[in-house]
């Protein structure tokens, strides 16, 4: 072998290794084919079925101990996503303590502006004055260094009822302003993201005649499809039918319920693995969402490369679920609702709790223990002492004692912020009572 030949071979090897590292998960070959694309019925945009949710970038500490986004990892993930055909990126001025827009755009701006669709939101929850709302709107353009936004959303509609919508967008004249911006082409598509009950949703859709929305963003996954909270949140199948009836495309958020459907209770995970030992739990949930033709794109907040790789293998050469598989997931969802877990997606909208409680941390720890199925319940249980010790120790590890559920005073400040309609104080008190009971059995 001469020198030239050697270089050729190693270069090819390196290239294939690089490719392999992009598309292979746990040694499983990447699905054949290309990224599944959907066409926006309103303007003909060709959008990748997998969209990137920019709410969960990896956070690290800077020199002064503050949380900052790890820009290097954002750059890498964005490059890899775009190279694999992902072309929809969804952010908000509120995400990640206000850092998401800047970090996401910094990575995206290294690519041609017409190679991806950019979505952001008017997240004027806390101050809905016209001045503050206008500033938030223009800041998005400045921070992201762009002249137009492809998909612009009225953020988190439904919470606080139609009144809140009216206050945030109609009374302050922002709606008229945004419609004018759409006319000018600054906003290419205008829509809203929704969390709430049926009357609120119906009221919102009734305004479609006036405002002519271009799309709607909803929470859709195989649990919320028919098993949403019901009182404060409406089932996704209802939302889906109503929106598609209007001919509008649907952008889906929380396809994994904040990761819950990727980290399933052990017995549920077992059933999925028995059906397909090679498929990840997340891939089932992703395929469920993609199976619905009215879905334009599925937003997934992929923090790590492994998340992205798993999703890429699902959406490249996408295979919709069969009728039998849909039935199977529906049965699974029914069993899942029987677990006393809290359907917190760790979106952190409730934080910081004014009294210092780590709300998502407490819920996550509790869910994990319940999901494992071997959490301490009563002293008669086999191995109770060991389970009790492990549960209490892991609780202290997961949540600092001053931020545990026992410190929730029930002020209800968090209630209005939760997109999942979790009765946070009631759930914290329930968990606290459980832990107190377990403690006393020592």
């Amino acid at each position: 072998m001469d020198r030239r030949q050697f270089i050729k071979t190693t270069a090819a090897g390196a290239a294939s290794a690089a490719l392999a590292s992009c598309g292979v998960k746990g040694g499983k070959p990447q699905s054949e084919g290309t990224m599944e694309m959907r066409t926006n019925p309103i303007n003909g945009d060709k959008v990748s079925l997998l969209g990137y949710g920019c709410m969960r970038w990896q956070m690290i500490k800077d020199e002064e101990g503050r949380d900052i986004i790890d820009q290097d990892s954002v750059d890498e993930l964005v490059d890899m996503a775009i190279a694999s055909g992902v072309n929809y990126f969804d952010t908000s001025p509120a995400y990640l303590q206000g850092q998401s827009e800047k970090a996401s755009a910094a990575a995206l701006n290294r690519h041609p502006r017409n190679s991806y669709f950019l979505a952001t939101k008017l997240s004027n929850f806390r101050n809905w004055s016209r001045e503050a709302s206008m500033k938030m709107y223009y800041d998005s353009f400045d921070v992201m260094e762009t002249d137009y936004i492809d998909y612009y959303l009225l953020h988190n509609i439904g919470r606080g009822g139609f009144e809140a919508f009216s206050r945030r967008y109609i009374e302050n004249g922002m709606m008229d302003f945004l419609l004018a911006q759409r006319e000018k082409g600054k906003i290419r598509q205008l829509g809203f993201s929704f969390h709430g009950s049926q009357p609120e949703f119906d009221a919102m859709l009734a305004t479609h005649d006036t405002y002519k929305y271009d799309f709607v963003q909803i929470q859709l996954n195989y649990v919320d499809w028919k098993h949403a909270d019901g009182v404060r949140n409406v089932n996704a199948d209802y939302l889906y039918d109503k929106i598609t009836a209007l001919g509008l495309p649907i952008v889906v958020m929380e396809p994994l319920q904040g990761g819950a459907l990727a980290n399933l209770p052990r017995s549920i995970a077992q059933q999925l693995k028995e059906r397909d030992p090679d498929a990840s739990a997340a891939s089932w949930a992703m395929r469920f969402v993609g199976t619905h033709p009215g879905v334009l794109t599925v937003l997934s907040g992929m923090t790590y490369q492994e998340h992205l790789e798993d999703n890429l293998s699902t959406f490249t050469g996408f295979k919709p679920l069969s009728e039998a598989e849909l039935d199977f997931l529906e049965r699974l969802a029914t069993t899942m609702k029987e677990y006393p877990t809290v359907n917190c997606t760790a979106c952190n909208y409730c934080m910081p709790c004014p009294w210092g409680v780590d709300i998502p941390g407490t819920f996550q720890h509790y869910n994990r223990a319940v999901g494992e199925g071997d959490f301490p319940q009563n002293p008669q249980q086999k191995d109770f002492a060991r389970l009790r010790r492990r549960y209490l120790l892991s609780y202290d590890r997961a949540v600092e004692s001053l931020r545990q559920a026992s410190h929730c005073i029930g002020c209800k400040e968090c209630l209005t912020h939760c997109p999942q309609s979790i009765n946070i104080p009631a759930e914290l008190h329930r968990i606290d009572r459980y832990i107190e009971k377990i403690r006393r059995e020592g």
Binding site: R66, M351, C353, D358, L393, R439
Partner: protein, 489 residues
């Protein structure tokens, strides 16, 4: 041979009692608690007649082996003493006036309720104080390193323990104790034990008459004087072939040392009578008299500081003024507790909820008190009562403990977040294990009024759950005062 056996037993006993103080798991308490109960002075305070009789009998039979293998401070001094040169001692006559003078002062302090002096020179307390204040932090930091590794490995073998300064004065006293002891031990071997230690002096009254004792066989002795130079108790008068058994701690160093086999440990009752003393007798009587005094005000200062980041800031709690100190269930009340407690710090070391800490007040310096800034007295925990060797806290079951009223909570409405922030709360009522807190309407005429807490004094047990979990910071809106007499439901 005897010396080797002595060293092995002493090593085991010292390791055992030290671990008792350092144990984080609480699992060793059941196995090693007896070593603490065997300590002479705490046993006297606890009126633990069995232990006292056993120790006196042991001393009568074998001399002061208690000082060589049971007393942790004695063993610790032997270790310190090794830092000095060999054969640096020599016979010194007994300093009776000093020994009995200190013992008399000790008893007077005990009777007068000056527990600081008692705790300062009492050997077991001195040792416990050094371990708890000087060694435990190092041990805990080591443990926390393992806990850190363990958490990263997803294992549950170790968990972190907070290291915090419970009382600066006590820490200072511990340092002084260590320095003083090191100087005494290196210079004079068992100088503390034979001049100052009240337990040593008390046992010496019996050991003078001990049945087994080292005896010099004059027919074999070559008068080399090596044994006297080796004797850390300075009690061998080689010239006259006499040994002062009131000071001999039966370490057997001399027996091992004698090249001529002139020293033997053997039955020798009745020979060489030594005379008892008036002070000693009065001392023994004084011990049986019941002690008095205690109570009064407490000057409290919080000394910890902690920083926080990330979430909403949480201010550390400061200690409220308590009219009457809170003492553990099983102590009957501050009077019995402070009269009996020898300030050995064992309960402070064992408290898993960071409730017990040595007092910094002059009156009860080093003796523990309860406070609820870092935790509260959990209903399922009886660790301090299980362990106390001095009878200051009597053992009890969790059920009985929860029926004992050790304090009374009271509400300062001006600090309650319902008043200051206009939010609903009720965290105190939600966590009261006795159901002693009732939420009542702030405005009785308003149906939808916010609810404020009120304490049912007859039900409150004083555990401090309300105070610890009160969201008002740095001072809690609901605080507990001790009861002067604990009562049982």
């Amino acid at each position: 041979m005897l010396r080797k056996i002595r060293i092995i037993i002493a090593g085991l006993m010292l390791a055992g009692i030290t671990l008792l103080f350092l144990d984080i798991t609480g699992a060793l308490h059941a196995w090693l608690g007896w070593i603490a109960k065997l300590q002479f002075f705490p046993a006297v305070m606890a009126v633990n007649l069995g232990a006292v009789a056993l120790l006196l009998l042991l001393t009568l039979l074998f001399g002061r082996i208690y000082c060589s293998v049971i007393c942790p401070l004695g063993i610790f001094q032997d270790i310190l003493s090794r830092l000095g040169k060999k054969r640096r001692f020599g016979y010194k006559p007994e300093r009776k006036w000093l020994r009995y003078g200190v013992l008399a002062l000790f008893i007077a302090a005990l009777v007068a309720g000056v527990q600081v002096f008692v705790a300062f020179i009492e050997p077991y307390s001195a040792y416990g104080r050094m371990v708890q204040n000087l060694l435990a932090p190092l041990w805990d930091w080591g443990n926390n390193l393992l806990a850190w590794i363990s958490a990263r490995a997803g294992a549950y073998a170790f968990w972190p323990k907070e290291v915090w300064l419970r009382s600066l004065p006590t820490l200072i006293v511990a340092v002084v104790t260590l320095v003083a002891l090191a100087i005494l031990a290196i210079k004079g071997g068992r100088a503390y034990c034979n001049n100052i230690c009240p337990v040593g002096t008390m046992l010496s009254l019996v050991s003078r008459f001990s049945m087994f004792r080292p005896v010099i066989d004059t027919s074999k002795c070559k008068n080399c004087g090596s044994c006297a130079r080796q004797c850390k108790a300075s009690c061998i008068n080689a010239k006259e072939h006499k040994i002062d058994y009131s000071r001999c701690v039966d370490c057997f160093d001399c027996i091992d040392d004698c090249k001529f086999g002139a020293l033997r440990y053997r039955f020798a009752w009745g020979r060489k009578k030594a005379s008892g003393t008036a002070e000693g007798d009065s001392g023994r009587r004084a011990f049986l008299t019941v002690s008095a005094l205690a109570g009064g005000s407490l000057l409290a200062k919080a000394q910890e500081k902690k920083t926080d980041g990330g979430f909403a800031q949480i201010l550390p709690k400061t200690r409220p003024q308590r009219k009457t100190p809170i003492t553990p269930a099983g102590s009957f009340g501050p009077k019995h507790f402070y009269d009996t407690c020898t300030a050995c710090q064992l309960c402070v070391a064992a408290c898993p909820n960071n409730v017990l800490r040595p007092s910094s007040s002059l009156e009860h310096l080093m003796q523990p008190e309860m406070s609820y800034e870092k935790g509260y007295c959990r209903p399922e925990c009886t660790k301090c009562a299980d362990l106390c060797p001095a009878g200051a806290i009597f053992p009890l079951t969790p059920e009985l403990k929860s029926a004992i009223h050790i304090g009374i909570a009271s509400v300062d409405r001006s600090l309650c977040v319902v008043e200051t922030d206009g939010v609903s709360c009720g965290n105190c009522a939600r966590h009261c294990p006795a159901g002693a807190i009732q939420m009542v309407r702030k405005d009785p005429d308003d149906e939808d009024s916010l609810m404020i807490p009120s304490v049912d004094e007859s039900r409150c047990i004083g555990c401090g759950a309300c105070e610890n979990l009160c969201p008002a910071r740095p001072l809690s809106a609901i605080t507990v005062n001790g009861r002067s007499n604990h009562i049982i439901d």
